[in-house]
């Protein structure tokens, strides 16, 4: 489903962050991505999310070579991808409910159709009581969970999560991991970047990729 071949990336004239990345991600797989702070995990996720183009190398996603993909077709591809940003990126003027429902809304969904799903998901991530609060009124962990809910609400084909448990307690982290695993069972390909070793320890089946100095090393 995703194919990287000799992908390199540098920001402007800076040093090369990613040097020679080649891998293949099967549809329906589950991957952890780890590595020291500032090594390029978020950068790699941005490549996967089509928010960055590589300086060299080949990326193909969902069967499209992204170098030849026109800008007009990107929105449709993006809708198949759910992302949990490291900085959450919730919209402050919308309620938690509206934030989570946003991906459905821009695709033309009607509130009556998705209301139930959204509320159920918010209950699952422990935001049942904060459904109509605005993000500035949420705690750090609550924001993070809202961001996760927004990423998964559309049952995307690919889920990218960047440090999704950095602001929650261990119990909650485990609960969120179960959500990702559940989603994966239903067919979503999952890539999670994280520093949390105990989290990775909880799902032994998933391979762990270690990014360091611009190269990927498969840890397990």
């Amino acid at each position: 489903m995703i194919h990287f071949e000799n992908v390199g990336l540098r920001y402007g004239v800076g040093p090369e962050i990613l040097k020679d990345i080649s891998f293949h991600i099967e549809a329906g797989s589950f991957h952890f991505l780890t590595g020291p702070s500032g090594t390029g995990k978020s950068t790699l996720l941005q490549l996967l999310f089509l928010a960055l183009r590589p300086t060299r190398g080949l990326i193909s996603m969902f069967g499209h070579d992204i170098a030849t993909l026109s800008g007009r077709r990107l929105p449709r591809l993006r809708r198949r991808i759910g992302v949990v940003f490291q900085e959450f990126r919730l919209l402050d003027h919308l309620t938690t409910f509206d934030n989570v429902a946003l991906p459905l809304r821009i695709q033309g969904g009607r509130e009556s159709e998705y209301r139930h799903d959204v509320e159920e998901l918010l209950n699952w991530v422990g935001l049942g009581e904060r459904v109509y609060a605005h993000p500035p009124l949420l705690s750090g962990g609550e924001k993070q969970r809202a961001a996760i809910a927004r990423a998964v609400i559309g049952q995307p084909d690919l889920l990218l999560a960047d440090e999704p448990t950095g602001n929650v307690d261990p119990q909650l982290a485990e609960r969120l991991l179960r959500l990702f695993i559940e989603l994966n069972r239903l067919g979503t390909t999952v890539v999670i970047a994280t520093h949390d070793h105990s989290l990775m320890a909880q799902f032994e089946d998933a391979p762990v990729w270690h990014l360091n100095n611009g190269y990927i090393e498969v840890l397990r």
Partner: protein, 321 residues
């Protein structure tokens, strides 16, 4: 915008949120964040300026048209009090000649009173004695479709009636038209300036709105919203803003002209102006058609708002992949 987030209770201030029953999905782009009150005021005043300028242009155009058509459809024959023939006889003779000429619709001699009233502004009221031998005019209306040969007519009059001089106003006409055109150009350039200012304000406002709502734009972009969809979230606010500001501005503008008309009508006021009016200018009031022109302001303002904001948004978005 600061007001952008006013409706979100600040983290430091209050808590509590609406119960499910009460709420409705908020618009993706908050109206207050895109187009707040000061912006409305600024654009309203621009629309007011535009209205006043348009109205003035209409007024001036009207006056000039009045002049031009009056003057070109009218010539005067001046009968000077000379020689031995009485002025009355001179006038009769001239009128007879005029009426016999093809292409002349009417020839109306001034009474002595009218003649002396015309001199009043120059000589002071009551100073022009009836028995003062002043020139008298014959107002001649010309059929503009089939005008007579004015040169031949002038010659004929000069030869046959002592002291009769035909004045076709051509010098006046060109002078007045030149002056009027200059005034009109000035008004037009003010209109252009007003439009430029409005565009600047809207560009500034969109950019500001874009910055205030940068997160929104980015998030929408990232969850796969199309560019047109994002632009529409802004446009809608500028559409309403333009219409609102336009309507208020036009109403104020129309009010100004109405007040102006009313004042000019009410004051027995400036006799000079009135005399001038009646003689050359025609009523100094905006005609209904002039008011109709003002109706163009709201749609144009809305159009400028929508187009400028759309352009700004798309330009901003095109910088992203």
């Amino acid at each position: 915008m600061a007001q952008n987030k006013d409706h979100i209770r600040g983290r430091n201030k209050t808590g509590g949120e609406k119960k499910p029953e009460q709420r409705k999905s908020a618009p993706i782009m908050p109206a207050s964040g895109v187009a707040g009150r000061p912006l409305l005021i600024a654009i309203t005043i621009m629309c007011y300026f535009a209205s006043v300028t348009i109205g003035s242009v209409a007024l001036i155009t009207n006056i000039v048209d009045n002049w031009t058509s009056q003057i070109s459809s009218q010539v005067t024959v001046q009968i000077k009090p000379v020689g031995t023939t009485s002025q009355a006889d001179q006038i009769t003779a001239a009128v007879t000649i005029l009426k016999a000429t093809k292409g002349i619709l009417s020839a109306l001699p001034q009474t002595a009173k009218e003649a002396s009233r015309m001199l009043e502004p120059w000589l002071g009221a009551g100073n022009v004695l009836e028995d003062l031998p002043i020139p008298r005019l014959i107002l001649v209306r010309i059929d503009q479709k089939d005008p007579p040969d004015l040169k031949a007519l002038a010659l004929k009059l000069r030869q046959q009636v002592q002291g009769a001089v035909l004045d076709d106003h051509s010098q006046w006409q060109s002078e007045l038209t030149r002056t009027a055109t200059a005034i009109r150009l000035a008004a037009m350039s003010i209109l252009v300036l007003v439009i430029l200012t409005t565009i600047s304000i809207v560009i500034f406002a969109t950019r500001a709105a874009m910055a205030g709502n940068r997160d929104i734009v980015e998030v929408l972009h990232m969850i796969g919203a199309r560019q047109g969809y994002i632009a529409r979230q802004f446009q809608i606010h500028f559409l309403f803003l333009g219409i609102k500001a336009g309507i208020i501005g036009v109403l104020l503008g129309a009010g100004t002209f109405l007040a102006f008309n009313f004042t000019l009508g009410a004051t027995s006021g400036s006799d000079i102006l009135n005399a001038a009016n009646n003689a050359f200018i025609g009523p100094l009031a905006l005609h209904p058609q002039g008011f109709a022109y003002l109706l163009a302001v709201p749609p144009v303002a809305a159009f400028i708002g929508v187009l400028t904001s759309r352009y700004s948004v798309l330009r901003f978005l095109s910088a992203m992949i």
